[in-house]
Symmetry: C2
Subunit: 163 residues, 2 copies
DNA sequence: CACCAATGATTGGTGCACAAACCATTGGTA
DNA sequence: TACCAATGGTTTGTGCACCAATCATTGGTG
């Protein structure tokens, strides 16, 4: 038996859908909770797809950035991916030891680290090409809705960027 | 100077808005990227608000769950928050040493851990009451749009739950 | 009653994520 | 030219997040 009355009866909610959300501190009322859970859920879809390629999702994002444009400095990647340099530093070392990227100081400015793709790294793009469609298929949501979510999220990012 | 041509000219994009997204591997085309960045951005809004209360966002979510209903077992929290028990276990110990919750085995079933609020934990709810409004204000997005994002995210969660 | 598969939680390992401290290089400027 | 603030990365420390392995308790079943 369970420890508590019943997880699905906050007080007198009519049904599964959260209509009134009278309590601002109710878990179902938290947009950020939905945001975090959605992110984790979708990452969970990527995981088994990326794992055979030897990539985590953050690493995949770095590769996407480099496939679009290389070389890039840590600072470039940091601003493109909105990630802390302190996060990228070890991540890039792992990509290097996986043989996907090279890390060398820029000759013109020794402060900059020039991150570039290896042949193997370039090659991997062919395999990655099928990922987006695979994820969309697994998610099983109509493309129009996905697009809507995307633009909505961009608004959230823009709004949060102001604050 | 920079290492690369220019971060803002993938090839011939008209302007800031991403219209065609011809390349499925383009960073701007990745919904999951937007999802992850949005989540991180909004968490960044919560951080300075929660920090003076001594809470991280995951800890805040656990408190929200307990304020709605207590006691809860680790399993209950795990299913409510969609979090691994292995993640919750040390998190709950930190909440315990912060004096906000108690952790004791259930008397009826020694396998279950009964997580309950302390007086201090109950008390904290008063302070937390102002958080949602504060976050919404900082985000500066109209409430209707926020609601829309919320329902859209619930759809994503539901879709990802199938897969 | 004695075993045993299932359940619930903890532990250990890897990899983000962020903040703060630190370090090297650079490009002014006194 | 000799200093010095700014810039770009790395390191360290804390806290998720997930997985796999482990362990104790429980509730059947032979």
């Amino acid at each position: 038996m369970d420890l508590m009355p019943a997880p699905d009866s906050p007080s007198a909610a009519p049904h599964g859908t959260t209509l009134p959300a009278e309590d601002p501190l109710a878990l179902e009322a938290q947009v950020c909770f939905a945001l975090v859970v959605a992110a984790r859920s979708v990452l969970g879809i990527y995981r088994p797809i990326l794992e055979p390629m030897g990539l985590t999702h953050p690493q995949y994002l770095v590769m996407l950035a480099l496939w679009q444009q290389a070389p890039l400095s840590v600072k470039d990647l940091s601003s493109l991916l909105q990630l802390d340099p302190g996060t990228l530093s070890p991540l890039l070392k792992r990509l290097e030891s996986a043989g996907l990227v090279t890390r060398e100081r820029s000759t013109s400015d020794e402060r900059l680290l020039s991150v570039n793709l290896t042949a193997k790294g370039v090659e991997l793009r062919n395999e990655a090409a099928k990922i987006p469609a695979e994820v969309v298929a697994k998610l099983g949501m109509p493309l129009t809705e996905i697009k809507q979510v995307h633009t909505a999220l961009l608004q959230v990012i823009a709004a949060a960027g102001q604050a």
